[in-house]
Amino acid sequence: MNATVAVILALAVGTYAFRLVGPALHGRVELPARVQELLSAGAIVLLAALLATGALTENGGFAGWARPAGVLVGGVLAMGVPPLGRSRAWGRKAPFAVVVLAAAGTTAVLRAAGVG
């Protein structure tokens, strides 16, 4: 079997197994409210860590200034983005796509200007 096919298969099977952990345990194991609460918080903690490492690092080192600067611009615009699902309670906001395009655009412009 081709090595690339093996990589894809291993990743697919393993990832699906991880994703089944929750549904498989659901209904069989009664999780205490406290554990549920920690799981929800844990999901956000994982996302935040993924965001921090994704914005700042590349292959174990610093990613350069252009990428985090772009993400920062996106973040400032997103500060106006309301909590999803409660949108009408908040004022003007930058739509998701604007946040993402502004981040990519800022990074691109900085790179064009010679910032790493």
Partner: protein, 227 residues
């Protein structure tokens, strides 16, 4: 709840979800383009997206393959990154809905974006709808984007020129900021976790830093003590 307000709520949901789709679409195009520009055949990113369906793991596995890291390192890195989906699936298990088939299908749709999108909804019914609407849409958009990016491939040139590597972190910023602003306990945990992840990144394999961030949960006090 009147049917009019239910309709309005669905429309809001689809509007918000479509913005996540658009953002992820940009990321998926960059994934397809990076893979093919790096020398992989078109079917590799396309098939990988369909069956693995996990953005950051796909990026890292392809990155390792293109860097000549070998198939075992590529698979291990991707799997390590995806261990977090086990935590997501536990957090979201209630939300998927009843029925074996629903849960088997829903499990494949568990991603950073869909979980963040669903958890941002306060009401359980709306949360379930948010998961499925954003999840099915994201699956379609992600795979279509990867195909488009893979076909465009080399024509795009160096994707770093367009700043596309800033797109995925920016999606995450927009998704987690509302929760981080609203909940001081989670904010403390997330800040500590992110700091830990950054501190260990130079020293440990890819995937480990994000998992270590869970240690930030020690700051999650039992009662809602505001910071």
């Amino acid at each position: 709840m009147s049917s009019t307000s239910a309709l309005t709520r669905s429309r809001d949901l689809i509007r918000d979800a479509s913005l996540v789709w658009l953002a992820s679409g940009i990321v998926s195009i960059s994934f397809g383009a990076i893979a093919v520009a790096g020398g992989l055949p078109v079917w590799v990113p396309v098939v990988m997206s369909l069956v693995v369906y996990a953005g950051s793991a796909q990026f890292s596995a392809v990155g390792v393959l293109l860097a000549g890291g070998g198939p075992i390192a590529a698979a291990a890195t991707g799997l390590l990154l995806n261990t977090r989906t086990a935590a997501y699936s536990l957090a979201i298990a209630d939300t998927l809905g009843p029925g074996r088939l629903t849960r088997l299908l829903g499990a494949h749709l568990v991603t950073d974006e869909t979980v963040a999108f669903a958890l941002a909804q306060a009401d359980p019914v709306r949360r379930r709808r948010a998961f499925w609407v954003s999840g099915v849409g994201l699956f379609v958009v992600w795979n279509a984007g990867v195909l488009a990016g893979a076909l465009a491939g080399g024509a795009l040139g160096d994707t770093a020129t367009y700043g596309l590597d800033a797109a995925f972190p920016a999606v995450l910023v927009a998704l987690v900021l509302p929760t981080l602003r609203a909940d001081a306990r989670i904010r403390r945990c997330a800040l500590l976790g992110a700091a830990l992840a950054l501190a260990v990144t130079p020293a440990v394999p890819a995937g480990v830093p994000v998992l270590l961030a869970l240690a930030g949960l020690v700051l999650h006090g039992r009662k809602g003590v505001s910071a």
